[in-house]
């Protein structure tokens, strides 16, 4: 229950201090701050830091008058020059053109990735190599010579320079 109160206070503390909470929520936070020590500590810590920020941040980056004068001089010169003809590429950097260029880049990457697949090229690293079964051919020799039954049938690897087969079986066996 205490943790719930603490979390509730923590979530609403910034708006509690700036007076932006509705009446029921503001009263509830105030009650928790009174009842619970952790809530009170959170309140004090938040208030102290917020006050310091409110006083110190407006002093951060304060310009000197010369800087503002320089900008004003440049601005007046810009205002007096007639507006240049706007070019199609002059708007690079705007939100819509950024979206367009990001979209274009994404499309180019997608095409670059899909192009090899579309053309039938496969990466040897990605493809799975399937061992090809060797093609066998049955060679029948004439019975004139004395041959053992083992010599009657011999296997000839495709591409090997063996004796010309007399009879070859087709098709090759499937494994």
């Amino acid at each position: 229950m205490f943790r719930f109160k603490y979390r509730y206070c923590k979530v609403h503390m910034a708006r509690y201090l700036s007076g932006d909470l509705s009446d029921p929520v503001r009263r509830r936070v105030a009650r928790y701050i009174d009842e619970n020590e952790d809530c009170y500590r959170e309140y004090m810590r938040h208030r102290e830091f917020a006050q310091k920020l409110e006083r110190s941040l407006p002093a951060f980056g304060r310009p000197n008058p010369q800087q503002l004068d320089q900008v004003w001089t440049a601005l007046k010169a810009d205002l007096q020059t007639p507006r240049a003809q706007s070019l199609w590429y002059s708007d690079f950097g705007s939100r819509s053109s950024m979206h367009f260029s990001y979209g274009l880049a994404a499309l180019a990457i997608a095409i670059a990735l899909m192009l090899p697949l579309a053309l039938g090229y496969h990466s040897p690293l990605l493809s799975i190599s399937i061992a090809r079964a060797p093609h066998y051919a049955v060679v029948l020799r004439p019975p004139a010579q004395e041959l053992s039954s083992a010599a009657l049938f011999e296997t000839v690897e495709p591409g090997s320079s063996g004796p010309a087969p007399l009879l070859q079986s087709t098709p090759s066996p499937r494994l």
Partner: protein
């Protein structure tokens, strides 16, 4: 809106009308009113003097050229100017996303002390400014924007949500998150530094 705020808004609307009708003094008056706060906003977000000056000039140039489009019923001139400046600051973050180190900061050219300032005061000012600068730089751009608008510019959550272009609840949670992270970032340095900076200013 309080009577004071209403009167100020009417006064600014009158200056805008004068400028739109061709009164050159109207532009100068608008610049005098908003230039310093707009520069602080840009500097706090970009943490670079040159970039802040460029964005200040660009924002005013755009605003002055499009002043007839400004509708005071939709937003105040301050909110409109801040929206323009923040949008340009965001473009600068995007362009500089991979270049985060600024050579002028390395060389110590960033923090110029006024000539009359004593060396001790200048050193304290430099330390404090560097600590805040580092802490702000560690925040994400969105959290930095929320913190700078809330604490640096004293805007309400509603105004922050208008300038940042997000729902009010989102603006609130960004301020809360930014506050927590900034407190954690500045804790090792000591919150006394902020006090020192206040004393010097």
């Amino acid at each position: 809106m309080t009577d004071n705020q209403l009167a100020m808004r009417q006064e600014i609307d009158a200056i805008v009308n004068r400028a739109v009708n061709g009164d050159q003094n109207g532009y100068a008056e608008l610049y005098d009113r908003f230039a310093a706060s707009l520069y602080r906003l840009c500097y706090s977000l970009l943490l670079n003097e040159q970039d802040a000056e460029d964005i200040l000039q660009e924002s005013f140039l755009y605003a002055f050229k499009n002043l007839q489009r400004f509708d005071s019923r939709k937003a105040s001139l301050k909110t409109w100017l801040y929206t323009i400046a923040i949008s340009r600051c965001r473009n600068t973050y995007r362009r500089k996303r991979f270049v985060t180190v600024d050579i002028t900061q390395w060389l110590g050219l960033e923090l110029k002390a006024p000539p009359a300032e004593a060396p001790e005061a200048a050193a304290i000012r430099r330390d404090a400014s560097e600590s805040i600068s580092t802490a702000l730089q560690d925040l994400s751009p969105r959290l930095r924007e929320a913190i700078v608008l809330r604490y640096g510019q004293g805007m309400t959550y509603r105004e922050i949500s208008e300038v940042m272009g997000c729902p009010q609840k989102t603006a609130e949670s960004r301020v809360r998150l930014g506050h927590e992270r900034l407190r954690k970032a500045l804790q090792p340095v000591g919150l006394g530094l902020l006090e020192e900076m206040l004393r010097v200013h």
